[in-house]
Amino acid sequence: MQAHHKLQAICPREYAEEFSRPVHKIGMITCGLAVLANLLPPAWLYLQYGVLPPSAAIAKGMGLALTYAVPFFIIEPIIYYPILGDAGTYMSFLTGNISNMRLPCAAVAQTVAGVKEGTREGELIATVGIALSIWLSIFAVLVGALATGWFVQFFSPWLQDAFKSYLLPATWGAVFGLFALRGLRYAPAALVLALSAILLKWPPSIAIPITVFGTIIFGRVIYNCSAGNARDTDRQGNASNLDKNGRE
């Protein structure tokens, strides 16, 4: 599946004028429109059905939601930008599924075309790959939502109760289990903080920030200790070399 022809290098000025500039313009406008489109459902719910949640519920719900989301607003664009580039960043943060779909599609497209990531040619190729993945996922979700909705009505009462009562708890456990593999030394702190808050009967609006930020702080301490140990080991290694050789 390799490209048969080698791409010629693209000059920076041409790239800036014909790609970067319009990408930033379209990207900012479409992300702005998407922000408005996300305000549409609560507005429509109010205008058509007269339903608006109580302000206390909004404040608490948003507080909990943002406790989880705000670190990712800051971290994710920074982590993924070097791989996605400008166009990839706009597209990926508008549609999501970055690490499992957009990034792999960008990487495969670049491999097929025989270009390197981080180059102008690489970003252009990645743009095409990511764009196709967005077309596919949007239509698949549309068909999937329609089909699943129809399918679920045939479930037996036993199965419906299983989905209703136990799917979410299993989901929390499954995601926790997956991330525990990535951060085994941080996982116990998260459980201890959470269970303590629950046993002390603290409301979610207090318990969740304590658990999330407490785990981050604990993680930072562990991380610093590990980094410190690595530096000490390095220094000891260098010091023995000095003794052994009598020079640096």
Binding site: G27, K60, F93, N100, V141, L142, I198
Partner: protein
């Protein structure tokens, strides 16, 4: 009025379509710009087809997993809401489930629970949609500054950035997992089974040399944990 009567009504499907159209316009405009320059620099039709084929094949697995896991959102809320949140916007089913759960808790209710009513539903709609605006705002206004921002926030330490996001995820999922652990019975079994199965399938993928299995680990663990929790509850747990 029961929230279920309006959760799948045309309004939410139209809202989803609006977001989808914006996303499709953006990605199409970008790819037209990209292909125009690439063709001038040697890209041939066969090359474009090869790229599209590679991207399509790569997307199949993640799309199927997303549909599998999306059942949770369809059952908890409605197909229309699953479409509106998963088509474009955040895209991640798990993030949406967490935010819906947080929103219900904000209204003093449990998502899908006996006490979940129109207030809880309205709060879910509000919070799910408004809370994800941060991602679009970050991309929309700060993409051009991201190179410099990376250095400042990480202090040059990309490993800590990655660890921070793991800690934040463990924190939030640890909390909601723990609320179900504290309930005991089938809910506790579902949490524990889900966690063990997810770790098992993920590791199995490495042992068996089948990396694609990792994509399915979460979905298989979710449904496995669900069935084990229900079976335990059915036997008097």
């Amino acid at each position: 009025m029961d929230w279920k009567q309006i959760a799948n009504a045309p309004w939410i499907w139209i809202c989803g379509a609006v977001l989808a159209v914006i996303a499709l316009y953006q990605c199409t405009a970008f790819s037209i710009l990209a292909v125009k320059i690439l063709k001038r620099h040697g890209l041939q039709k066969n090359d474009v087809l090869g790229i599209l084929r590679g991207a399509a094949i790569t997307s199949i697995g993640p799309v199927m997993v997303e549909l599998f896991v999306m059942v949770a959102l369809v059952v908890a809320l409605s197909p229309g809401i699953a479409w509106q949140r998963e088509g474009a916007a955040v895209g991640s089913v798990i993030t949406e489930l967490i935010q819906a759960t947080n929103a219900a808790a904000g209204a003093g209710q449990e998502l899908g629970g006996q006490n979940f009513d129109m207030n809880g539903f309205a709060n879910v709609i509000f919070v799910m949609n408004v809370s994800c605006i941060g991602w679009m705002t970050a991309a929309g206004f700060f993409t051009r500054y991201l190179g410099k921002a990376r250095q400042k926030v990480a202090g040059g330490d990309s490993l800590w950035l990655a660890a921070l996001s793991v800690c934040a995820t463990l924190g939030i999922f640890g909390y909601w997992a723990s609320t179900n652990l504290a309930k005991g019975g089938g809910a506790m079994v579902a949490v524990v089974a889900g966690g063990i199965l997810a770790a098992f399938f993920f590791k199995l993928a490495d042992w068996a040399g089948k990396p694609r299995l990792k994509e399915w680990a979460l979905g298989l663990a979710m449904f496995g944990g669900m069935f084990l929790g229900k079976l335990y509850a059915g036997w008097g747990g």
